[in-house]
């Protein structure tokens, strides 16, 4: 009896110990990756990193200023295109078509598209836009990211809008306001925090994408502000620089990796902080 009990206890501790180790494993890798990105990236972050254009291989100095601005531009345009579309589609799911067939189909597809391979979107946009438009472009890259963003925004905005209690809607409707005004002025306001969180997470998600940009926004050694010309981005720069055999380029790639990781972690943490604010108050 006693022996049997001991054995059960032992199994219990071993199993729980293994669970603990798994959690430690996850944390260790996170810390390890972050440590390397920080240690190898930090030395690269000097003034020229932020202010200069890429230098040809073998030349001292050079930076990724154009890629930083390029990533911001691509992401902003993608957001401007993807977010309103996503919010409106989410509005339909939550306010108009709740139980309709169309809504459940859209919900299902969006859930799947959230995890769909992003490189396929790159090929799609290449076939649709880059070939016919006669060149790689900032616009094509932004569009690819907007497509990737769309399902994320749809699902989060729907969830957030649903959290607004129906009684709020009914109260506003009872005052005689048309439904669209109720939605825009009452429901959106009620769900604002949550939707901002959702948008932030969606922006974070796409600004780290590389694969869909390889064939769309391509790359550029110079500044570009034109929608129809190729544009540098941090992620494609990391890909090219990390694959290149030059030490100084590796260092710049680590710097760019640090920059983008830090940005994404900050956005993700901010979004979490924001979301927590909503649930408690």
């Amino acid at each position: 009896m006693n022996l049997h009990y001991l054995r059960r206890k032992l199994v219990n501790y071993v199993a729980l110990g293994i669970s603990l180790l798994s959690a430690v494993f996850g944390i260790v890798f996170l810390c390890w990756i972050l440590k390397d990105v920080l240690v190898l990236g930090l030395p690269a972050l000097n003034t020229s990193f932020f202010t200069e254009l890429p230098a040809p291989p073998g030349m001292e100095g050079g930076g990724v200023a154009n890629a930083i601005v390029g990533t911001i531009m691509i992401t902003v345009i993608a957001t401007v295109v993807g977010v309103p579309a996503g919010i409106l589609a989410g509005t339909y799911l939550s306010e108009f078509g709740r139980k309709s067939r169309v809504a459940s189909a859209v919900r299902f597809l969006s859930d799947i598209l959230v995890s769909a391979p992003s490189i396929v979107v790159g090929i799609f946009v290449y076939a649709l836009l880059v070939g016919p438009m006669g060149g790689f472009s900032l616009l094509a890259g932004s569009l690819a990211l907007a497509i990737i963003m769309l399902p994320v925004v749809i699902r989060t905005s729907e969830e957030m809008l649903k959290l607004v209690p129906d009684s709020t809607r009914e109260a506003a409707l009872a005052l005689g306001a048309p439904q669209w005004r109720v939605t825009v002025q009452v429901v959106y306001r009620g769900a604002l925090r949550g939707m901002v969180t959702g948008v932030m997470l969606a922006v974070a998600r796409v600004s780290g994408e590389t694969a869909p940009l390889l064939f769309t926004s391509f790359n550029n050694t110079f500044w570009n502000f034109s929608l129809t010309e190729p544009t540098a981005s941090l992620t494609v720069t990391i890909f090219n620089y990390a694959m290149a055999p030059y030490e100084e380029w590796h260092s710049i790639a680590w710097g760019a990796a640090l920059l983008i990781t830090a940005m994404l972690l900050v956005v993700t943490l901010l979004a979490r902080f924001f979301a927590r604010g909503r649930s408690t108050g």
Partner: protein, 308 residues
């Protein structure tokens, strides 16, 4: 403004708003259809030339213009399986730790930390894998595996530090956050009355987990694994860095191979013959369909755990 015209404005305003939101909701479906259509159209030459043989052919020969998808499919599937085999037990362990063991003060931070792993872009996993992990695997881990398990054909090869095993390992680290967070959510759905009755009859914590929590959560876990699989199948940048880009089918997990996504990333802008290009697009189409089916299954399996 009199009442009538106000009502008219109201209803037309509503109609427009509803119409616009409906349009954007529908656009998701149209977009999806368009993706399939465009990819299908672009891969038509290859589909006509190779037919179903495309899936079973092992040759990827741009000189002779003979293309087959099997090596890429093989590499994709094998790396994804390796990723699941490594990630599943660890993710379950993490979920158990977070739901059943961790003190409340630790639950939050550790949960967040693991989810942060998911927000690191895949290119950074790839770069870290190539520069940091791969030398370690090539210099220490793989020679050890070869020396001790080399008699098994799966582990016979040269210690390169890149290949299917390293790619699968990086993929595992990347999908652990997904599997563990879904598993955690599913574990949290287990009614506490079930667990308490387990403790009531004197079961240890592990016994409750094994006999009550895991059986209750089984299909949720399966769904989580399939979700992770869906992610792993389509993952591009990290795999491109780590797999070795070699369209060969090799039994040894240490050998370089290629995956569908890595082939797309490497060869899409390069292909200079229409048939070559079209074969690559067909690979993309297959990847899209495969991940769609896998993710749809995952979605259906986790549906019953969704919060109402």
């Amino acid at each position: 403004m009199n009442t009538e015209s106000r009502e008219a404005a109201t209803s037309s305003g509503d109609r427009i708003f509803k119409g616009v939101s409906y349009f954007f909701a529908i656009s998701v479906m149209c977009l999806m259809g368009l993706v399939v259509l465009v990819l299908f159209k672009e891969s038509l030459p290859s589909i006509q030339k190779f037919g179903l043989g495309f899936i079973t052919s092992t040759s990827w020969d741009p000189v002779a213009l003979e293309f087959g998808a099997l090596p890429a499919i093989y590499g994709t599937v094998v790396t994804s399986i390796i990723a699941i085999v490594i990630a599943l037990p660890i993710s379950i362990g993490i979920a158990i730790f977070l739901t059943e063991m961790a003190p409340t003060s630790l639950k939050g931070p550790i949960g967040v930390a693991i989810e942060l792993l998911a927000s690191i872009p895949s290119i950074i996993y790839g770069m870290w894998g190539l520069f940091i992990l791969s030398p370690l695997l090539g210099d220490y881990v793989e020679p050890f595996i070869i020396d001790h398990f080399g008699f098994i054909p799966l582990f016979d090869g040269a210690p390169l530090g890149i290949g299917m095993l390293p790619a699968g390992f990086i993929l595992a680290i990347m999908i652990i956050p997904f599997i563990s967070s879904v598993s955690r959510d599913v574990f949290l759905m287990v009614p506490s009355i079930l667990k308490e009755s387990g403790y009531g009859v004197g079961a240890t914590k592990w016994e409750v987990i094994r006999r009550v929590v895991l059986p209750f959560a089984r299909s949720g876990i399966v769904g989580a694994v399939i979700l992770g699989l869906g992610r792993a199948l389509g993952e591009t940048m990290a795999v491109t860095f780590m797999i070795g880009n070699s369209p060969d089918i090799s039994l040894s997990l240490l050998d370089p191979a290629t995956s569908i996504s890595a082939t797309l990333a490497n060869e899409f802008t390069e292909a200079d013959h229409p048939l070559y290009l079209s074969s690559i697009v067909e690979l993309g189409l297959m990847l899209f369909i495969i991940t769609f089916v896998v993710l749809a299954i995952a979605k259906l399996m986790t549906r019953r755990y969704e919060k109402r």
